[in-house]
Symmetry: C2
Subunit: 652 residues, 2 copies
């Protein structure tokens, strides 16, 4: 038996598992590098200037430099220069885009941004805004009228969107909405309705206040989800199983990839390659994959709700909202954990412990099998399906999103997202469905509690490099063919495959569900021995598209969800499907506007944008905390290999 | 902490796990009961009569008797009478349907069947038919001309379907097609093309023979999938993980169900109920669920292929094709195994060892979680997702279907089917894609090897009894609503839920994919405290529908695949979506014909028929053995419980 080929599995910073800590050009900023940014920017501006960091992330080196480094580097070879991209608000009035040389700690560029929209909210300004109502006399009066105690109030910041306002109407305002604790930690089940507080984040003051009237606050009883607060009877219960893994995970099967972190996107998988046993070489699959935007529009038109059309990556930072994973619960016992870093508003690096876990998964499934009973002796060959999972949880306020990137030995990359956590509910007068005669915008879940109808659209940026950069997108359509002459066959019909190569961006837009089309991404310059172009197929999970009108301001801002599939030529600046500045954006910098150029995408370095959707009609099982609902998609080799790549997998 | 409620988890015969062996009215026939059938039928006919058993299965007691027994039985109470239903061919000429009293070993009825179509093939007649070509001089001549050795030939029986033939054209004929071993066990990769052998099964002789000419037999090289036959280099490999389970599985969490076996359907799940912690009682969910038919049409019109439109349950017996599961490979180490029994053609009980495995699954997933960072102290609550899986593998010739019924503590029943095993390939002259200019009906996978395009449609019979028998089907449609007056809201649109109750069968037919509709099954007579009807939702996995013309004979026989969802009133005789007699059927006894009665289905005991589809365009990774491709569906509670049923699950 030949030796196991050596793989490099790059981790981007110190972790508890025993691996060599090679650096990689796509490593996220280290704590020292955050400090370098801070130093450079502080010395660039005068002492009297207020600078708030809204985004600090790696400015990725050009793709060619990364690939060249990956293929040629030796321990002594120079890595591409390390740079950071920064978005800062200066003196609470202007937005600046800066580039910093991380090694020299110098400013390379500083550009004023004058377009529409604003950067991510910082934690600090959200905390400050959330505290304002309790110092606002009319709010205290509203509480008094409702018989609520200020000490039990917790408020949240909500982006206010854009509904056609111009000029001053487009300032950096948000809504602050409050919830009530008083005996529970499940504040999201206890909204204080009827009150609209508008806050200007730059001035950090309340600029609008309205109390439309009293709506009951849903009761605390039954909402607390902590185990320690439950009373008998308990159940269900199972006999716990243990997963025991003898060895470390530092080199995993046939995959090699890099895991990075970004405060906006969360996990970033890059330079994923798979070892081809027949060819005895690594072959490229995915240059970069990450969640580009997560759009969550609610379907409630009441004054306190109509604007709730969240862009969780661009407004709140999907990475910034990372929850520390609980060992033995969020991940199995064989998982290893890694931390991540994000900057606070002053640029100080903050540690997120247990931001990721990585584990080998064996769920009892079969990678392939066959029993042959026709041969003289019965043959049964079975291979167990063991994969590697990279997990991260982002808790954007009430919702928890469990993000899995799973690498299968058979060559598939499966992306799964699990939705759990707490619904966003509206307080209401109703205590029974029979009382609801008008539009309730949701479903009654408990007394005075309406679970609002809403959607989740997760748009992934997938820079596929199938066996190299130059790729094409094939729409492989299955169509019924009538058999013209019954003398040729007793059959009257069959189906065959009609392959259309997408030439330009407009060819590539696809709304799934309406017709039967397989999504194939090939390298047209590489063929298998029998002549098939090497490729990967994207297999969708649950399919959903937007149900908002195209001319609705909300949908104009989220126009990137209009199609489940878009393909664009690679462009360094096109990372965020909803635009760089999403808070109060106007839809003028989205995937939908870029794609209007209708650029050529055949035999090019292309990027696939895939949108996974959920329409969520809440039900009582989602109260007071939701059982996980999962979906995802799979990138699966399709004539990428000459044959089944796990035919000769080790038998465990 | 209160005591764990007691559950009964019925197994239908002896197994290695420590459980009480209660009998259940839906238990499949025991070996002794098969013998009882054999004795009764032998004494019923004269000694000179030839009787071949094509089907022996439990004749289920009336649903009311089963439910009454379940709710009222004590150790001494009488179970409903045990009866068997038998389909036999008598003197190779007529089909009889018999009912046998299993306790008395007496014939209760014997009816001649005079309609169209024939019963399942027996193993014995397939073996006899497969041997005929090697005793047929023209076939030996065909081998000689091809330079093939008879000793390496293995033949298979294929149903020939129905293409409008009348009278004698409708006799019990099949096609026998041969493959070549000669250095491999993967006979399915080595078809001997160009030869059509027609066999009359009743006369057991060749009644038609044609050799259209020589087509290369694909080479043996690279086709063997046995681990022992692989040569270096090997890979990929992983560090094996072990799953250790300390205790037995005799009582599992909050589920109670019965597992049965049928030679046609395979596993049958019945009387599944879930314990409601709040109500402290079991509540009914599924009276019976099983695979009713599996339709696999190929898209190849050549003379040796056009008729390959398999009905794997009705022609070959999905249960009869059960493969014994390999411990530690087909199922994890914590699995328990159970045997099953089927009758041979003479009615002798035959044991299928390891026909089922049952295991507790923990794949590292999260049942629910939330991290609350807004409260004074950060709260993180996480529950691990542990479920119970019942698995069975059916190997219908070349294909292996991995069938999982998964019971989740959160109340979901997930049905998953994994497709693996061997493709059906056609031998061809081509050695490279560039040589293919005409219709090849498939994809080139290797030299001289075309993987034929085909579909898999799995139609499940789901007799839902959501909290009781009387159920209704709600089509919950999400539709865009324009906001009429912009003065009421800055929004221009939203969506809301429009619920339509299906009154009759025609209301319930749904082709998925075309519109956004949630499939809800409710008990209209039971409401939650806030007034929602208690229900379950069917969440589809991958969606596919037939691409054959409606007037094609193939599609007429498989008309039950035309819609993904049908709902019928419960009718004891309506079990097999393609009809009882599927071999050479004419489509006159299918779900589609029954449903033409357009019966009432509101507030009735109803049955849901759900069809899960795959269109399969083969790729080289599927050669010489396919990595598993999975899909399925989920039955998930929707206002069945007052709240999240695992809020108070034990923390492990």
């Amino acid at each position: 038996m030949s030796k196991i080929p050596t793989f490099l599995f790059f981790f981007f910073f110190s972790s508890t598992i025993s691996i060599s800590l090679s650096s990689h050009p796509l490593d996220p900023l280290s704590p020292a590098e955050f400090t370098s940014v801070q130093t450079a920017v502080r010395s660039h501006y005068s002492n009297h200037t207020s600078v708030a960091f809204h985004y600090i992330g790696l400015k990725e080196p050009p793709k060619s430099a990364v690939l060249s480094w990956l293929h040629h580097h030796t321990p002594s070879s120079a890595a591409p220069p390390r740079r950071a991209f920064i978005i800062a608000r200066v003196n609470h009035t202007t937005t600046h885009e800066l580039t910093v040389d991380l090694t020299q700690s110098t400013i390379l560029s500083d550009q004023l941004y004058t377009g529409s929209g604003y950067p991510l909210f910082t934690f600090e300004e959200q905390i400050a805004a959330n505290a304002l109502p309790l110092g606002h006399a009319p709010f205290l009066e509203s509480l008094r009228r409702r018989g609520l105690h200020g000490a039990e109030i917790l408020c949240q910041t909500y982006g206010i969107g854009w509904f056609g306002e111009q000029g001053k109407g487009c300032s950096r305002i948000v809504r602050v909405m409050c919830n009530y604790l008083d005996g529970t930690v499940n504040l999201f089940m206890r909204p204080v309705e009827g009150i609209a507080v508008t806050v200007d984040l730059d001035r950090m003051e309340i600029v609008g206040y309205r109390d439309r009237g009293i709506v009951p606050v849903p009761k605390a009883d039954g909402t607390d989800y902590r185990g320690s607060k439950q009373r008998p009877p308990f159940g269900p219960g199972v006999n716990a199983i243990n997963v025991v893994q003898p060895n470390n995970l530092n080199r995993w099967a046939n995959w090699d990839f890099h895991l990075g972190f970004d405060m906006r996107a969360g996990p970033i998988i890059s330079t994923a390659s798979i070892f081809d046993v027949d060819k005895q070489t690594f072959r490229r699959v995915l240059y970069r994959g990450f969640l580009s935007e997560l759009f969550v529009p609610y379907m409630d038109l009441t004054e306190e709700w109509y604007y709730r059309t969240f862009f969780d990556a661009g407004e709140f930072g999907y990475g910034l909202c990372t929850s520390s994973l609980l060992p033995g619960a969020d991940c199995p016992d064989n998982a290893v954990f890694m931390e991540a870093y994000f900057p606070d508003k002053d640029g100080n690096p903050q540690q997120l412990p247990n931001a990721f876990c990585i584990f080998e998964r064996y769920a009892g499934d079969v990678m392939w099998r066959h029993t042959e009973a026709a041969t003289p002796e019965v043959v049964t060959e079975v291979r167990r399906d063991v994969s590697l999972v990279v997990r991260m949880v982002s808790t954007v306020g009430n919702y928890d999103y469990i993000n899995d990137w799973e690498f299968k030995q058979s060559g598939s990359i499966k992306v799964t997202v699990g939705l759990t956590g707490l619904l966003e509910v509206r307080g209401a007068d109703y205590t029974h469905k029979d009382q609801i005669h008008d539009e309730s915008y949701g479903q009654i879940l408990s007394e005075n509690t309406i679970g609002s109808n809403h959607d989740h659209f997760l748009t992934y940026h997938l820079d596929l490099d199938v066996d190299g950069e130059s790729n094409s997108f094939l729409k492989s359509k299955l169509k019924t063919v009538r058999v013209p002459n019954r003398t040729t066959s007793p059959r009257k019909s069959y189906w065959r495959v009609f392959v259309e190569t997408a030439k330009t961006e407009s060819d590539a837009k696809i709304k799934l569900g309406s017709e039967q089309v397989d999504l194939i991404f090939v390298n047209p310059n590489k063929k298998t021995m029998v002549g098939n172009p090497v490729g990967y197929r994207l297999i969708p999970g649950s399919v959903a598209g937007p149900l908002l009108s195209d001319d609705d301001y909300v949908q104009i801002r989220a126009a990137f969800t209009e199609y489940n599939v878009w393909v664009t030529p690679y462009n360094e600046s096109e990372k965020w499907a909803g635009g760089v500045y999403v808070d109060r954006s106007r839809g003028d910098d989205t995937l939908a506007t870029w794609s209007m150029k209708d650029r050529e995408i055949e035999d090019r370095d292309i990027v696939v944008w895939y949108t996974l959707g959920f329409h969520h009609v809440p039900c009582q099982e989602d109260f007071p905390v939701m059982p996980t609902l999962s979906s995802g998609f799979e990138l699966r080799p399709a004539n990428f290999f000459e044959r089944n790549p796990v035919l000769k997998a080790y038998i465990s």
